[in-house]
Symmetry: none
Subunit: 213 residues, 4 copies
DNA sequence: GATGAATGAGTATTCATTCAT
DNA sequence: TATGAATGAATACTCATTCAT
């Protein structure tokens, strides 16, 4: 491993350290009420250091979303590869993937939604913004593809596959957000899982043409 | 009408005037970037006047959520009164009610999610906080009741009614949030409506024991 | 009594009402932290009304000092008239007078000291400022006269009579201020009286050429 | 000297720099009319920096009082150590100490009295408040002890020693306050010194059992 | 690279004062 | 006269960002 590579690796480690800290603080306080000093303290670094790794506060914030989107893509692509599977099974793989995303970083889903506000997006670098948009579109496309297949195979009801994909994602993030706003993420984690499970079950039944029987 | 009553009415009108202005500015700029002076200008009042009606910026913001909750309750109670209806029809009334809430104030669902931040909650008066909590609980209870009835009548699948209520609400707000983050609220309003409609349809099908067939 | 006179009397009553309220609030919170609304609430009037009777906050504040100075003058002139008395007895009358002033309005002494700051004085009307200065000078002159007599009669030590007058007044107000800053004005009023008594006793002994014996 | 110690020293220097600037501005404009920006300009710092060293304006103001209390304690403890001296001489040392305090910071006695306002106290940190109270109590105790000795030795009249201590302090601060309200602190400094000298002389004579004769 | 003290523009909030009723 | 809602200038305080060490 070259010295340059080692440095790059070290740099990435630092970025992760900061993002982990930022995630915790953002999830608790929200974008507005979180100060860079809060994050620095949580990361056990000095405020100035944060700026060596992130251009500004908004960009640090956006990077968090990027991270989970990247993970999401990896999982989705895995699902998509198994073309041999029946659409029904692929949908199940899909919800399993979302469960994994949730397990990977339960707090991040919350953060992703704060990002929506245009005020934040305005401060992002063109580069980062493009990347986020690309990943979002890509992951939605993958999900949409699965539904298209399901509809073609006459397994799913014939609704706009993009809409179905949006709904699945909305349901997923909506449940997490709602339950977290009820402050039960930590205290009753199992309840959230159970609610998510029921949500996916209901969604599945609602999409399928034929009953389980 | 007594003089006291007239004053109270006048005061309430002013509050509404400010909230309407605040809603517009918040929707455009977001919580963070909106200054109290922005709101004052939009409301054609002076900054100091805002503080005669709202303790601080957070409380003004939260009051917008309260407003939509109040409207939600009214609509839900109306649905709940129609005990004579079949559960299936009541669920449909329920989703109709949610549509109305969305029409009443499409952007405010977004606001409601910022309230989860404990830092924001710290700035609210005990009174407002209690009211928001009460209304939230109340509306969830109404929705839960409808599902309980549906389950008892063997029309719906036997899942925890609280979970079903949570899921419906999560689906509703999740779709709005997600679509708004895709920046299509204004531009392609019909698409959002259509997505919501499909979402409710899927949810309905998923909950029912018997299929359409 | 003419209608004009009646009105004047009514007006004066209102002024007193406001001043009584202001005195209480100022003594508790100090000039800076007291708002006109605080005073209005205490006086059970509206803020606007205060301005019908006092030009502005500082002038209201200054009027309080004026009031006690006027009372002080009255008592001092009474002492001064009794030229027939021995200096020793007149000094005793003097301290008695100061006790009366204290009884008349224990909180006001505290307020008088806040007035000293030049920041307040700058906002006063020329008229009020002159009046305060006149009364202050006048009362000091009266006290000084008594000491002059006492020194001439060889009863008091030969020190500058103006200084002795200043010292007596400083001792009087200093004790009240100090004890009040120890928060015992209300709780242990007797202790303050007793301290004042001892203070005057010590002062008396210290000024006299011959011992009590 | 360790690096930690050096930093601490540097920090303390900054605090002093700010306090010196604050003292100047407060003395000129008074608490109310002085803005944090005024102080920052005088200290050649930015407004934000002040808040790195003082929680808020009131705390900065109160710290000035703390500073003089600390100096007072040092001088008083020095007096108290000279147990070998006769009570009379110790009282003289005591008044000398007060003169030194006055020379150290003639204007700050005035500040100390603003602290009585409960509204101001609300803004102070528990820590600062405790320290001020402790030092106040401690300095009064030292003065009281001297009087106790004097009374036991039959040199002073038998009055409550706490009262005598209070009176001495009241006399000291009362004279300074009164003279400063006569606006002569700067212009006729010698007159104030002379008045103080006479005040202490009178107090001394008044406390002693035997007269000069 | 890392630090963290310093910055200073930006804003929420206060409150003396006014004035239409 | 009395009111008290409205004003808006004034200012305490915050915090993202920089930069000398």
């Amino acid at each position: 491993m070259g010295i340059r590579e080692r440095k790059e690796r070290e740099r990435e480690r630092r970025r992760q350290q900061i993002m982990v800290a930022a995630k915790r603080v953002f999830a608790e306080k929200g974008l507005n009420k979180t100060t860079m000093e809060d994050i620095a303290r949580e990361a056990e670094l000095s405020p100035g250091t944060l700026y060596l790794y992130f251009k500004n506060k908004d960009e640090l914030y956006a990077s968090l979303s990027l991270r989970i989107l990247q993970y999401l893509i990896i999982r989705l692509e895995h699902v998509n590869k198994s073309k041999s599977l029946e659409p029904e099974q692929r949908i199940e793989s899909l919800t399993d993937a979302l469960f994994d995303v949730y397990d990977f970083d339960p707090l991040m889903i919350i953060n992703m939604f704060h990002l929506q506000s245009s005020e934040t997006l305005k401060n992002l670098s063109e580069e980062l913004l493009t990347e986020i948009e690309d990943l979002s579109r890509k992951s939605l496309n993958i999900i949409t593809n699965i539904f298209e297949d399901g509809i073609k195979s006459d397994v799913f009801i014939d609704r706009h596959p993009v809409a179905l994909a949006d709904i699945l994602w909305s349901l997923f993030s909506g449940v997490i957000l709602w339950e977290s706003s009820k402050k039960i993420i930590d205290e009753r984690k199992d309840y959230l899982r159970e609610t998510l499970r029921i949500a996916f079950e209901v969604f599945n039944r609602g999409c399928r043409k034929k009953k389980d029987s």
